[in-house]
Amino acid sequence: MTAVWCDRCGERAAEGDHTACAAARRLEPPRYCPSCRRRMKVQVLPAGWSATCVEHGTVRSDG
């Protein structure tokens, strides 16, 4: 599925330069749902993370 929203900055993924966001995401979990831009509830554990959108469900670092 193509992301509509950048999961780091929450702006439109197709607009602007998100190179810095992609670089930062290597050391950050996602914060915004790429489908609806809602801020997600993120849990970071020592060996992984999960991010939950109330509308679009949960994504995890291990896929």
């Binding site: 979990p29 993120v42 849990q43 970071v44 020592p46 992984g48």
Partner: protein, 331 residues
């Protein structure tokens, strides 16, 4: 060799007496070509007064976001437009985090909450969480829950929390530029209570908040006066939406100067790599710091950001022939 490094060799290495504020400032001002010399002496100091073991720790956020305080570096303050949402970790996930940490060989697991100080809900979660971890996981439990009352200090001791983290964050003179909702002295009061309770004191801070070299030296001297069991050294990782979100990261050479300087101020403390080292120092700098005074690491992820894989740090320690401190050595 600069005079300050000769002094470090005789005073700190041979006698175990840390540099004072002026000495720390002199190390922080060393020209680039002498940084390797400072790191070498700091490493020798660490080996002589602490030994070769490296203490490994994992951390987890029990309560994330929604904090009423305004620490300008923190993405968990509810007063800023940070994307971090408020969320609580449940007990099974907390125990899972402790298991993930123990699986790395770590001896320390620190439970952290983004609060001014714990309320009854948080203390209840701590009671249940610490008991569950102690029943299932062979690891030392530490906590970082903000400012405490004496009754809360006593309760944490009763739970079996052996170390308490409460960072002073920066020097006393610069603190009001970073936090306005409470004072440096309030933090100091909690640290004094923790010390008096018999819990180990863990207290460090963040470099790169805009402090001057003099204030960085002042901070090292104030930590040395506190004489904590452990000093976690963070480097600012500027977070979107925070007042310090646009600050530059600390230059790698300055970070290494600081590592050497803090070690030379506190020859016997556990000096721990904490957040921000990945962006400030990268892989090569991480190695340089471990050979320049650092003798502890946080492995894996942090509270709201991600770290290097624990396996990468453990492989580096193996490569450097630095043994991971065993649990039996901490009891």
């Amino acid at each position: 060799m600069p005079e300050i490094l000769d002094l470090a060799r005789t005073q700190v290495l041979e006698h175990g007496i840390g540099l004072d504020e002026a000495g720390v400032a002199a190390v922080l001002r060393l020209p680039d070509e002498h940084v390797p010399d400072a790191l070498q002496i700091a490493h020798e100091v660490r080996m002589r007064w602490c030994g070769p073991e490296v203490e490994v720790e994992g951390i987890v956020s029990l309560k994330t976001g929604g904090c009423p305080e305004d620490c300008h570096f923190c993405s968990q303050s509810g007063l800023f437009t940070s994307p971090v949402r408020s969320v609580w970790l449940d007990i099974p996930s907390l125990v899972e985090a402790a298991k993930q940490t123990a699986a790395t060989g770590a001896t320390e697991f620190c439970i952290v909450a983004a609060v001014r100080g714990p309320d009854e809900r948080l203390m209840k979660q701590m009671r249940e969480g610490v008991a569950a971890i102690r029943a299932e996981v062979d690891i030392q439990v530490a906590a970082s829950l903000g400012m405490l009352s004496q009754a809360q200090v006593d309760e944490l001791v009763e739970m079996g929390v052996h170390r308490y983290n409460h960072n002073l964050e920066t020097s006393r003179s610069y603190f009001p530029n970073v936090v306005t909702t409470h004072s440096w002295e309030e933090r100091w009061d909690t640290l004094r209570m923790v010390r008096d309770s018999g819990m180990e004191v863990c207290c460090g801070g963040i470099l790169g908040l805009g402090e001057t070299v003099e204030q960085r030296a002042e901070f090292a001297a104030q930590l040395a006066e506190l004489d904590p069991h452990e000093v976690p050294l963070n480097f600012l990782n500027p977070r979107p939406g925070t007042p310090l979100g646009d600050r530059p990261v600390v230059e790698g050479k300055d970070a290494l100067r600081a590592i050497a300087a803090f070690r030379l101020a506190m020859p016997r403390t556990i000096l721990r790599y904490a957040g921000g080292r990945e962006i400030t120092l990268g892989d090569l700098g991480t190695r340089d710091g471990l050979l320049g005074g650092i003798n502890a690491v946080i492995v894996g992820n942090y509270l709201t950001t991600l770290g290097r894989p624990a396996s990468a740090d453990l492989a580096l320690l193996d490569d450097l022939k630095m043994p991971v401190k065993a649990l039996s050595a901490t009891l």
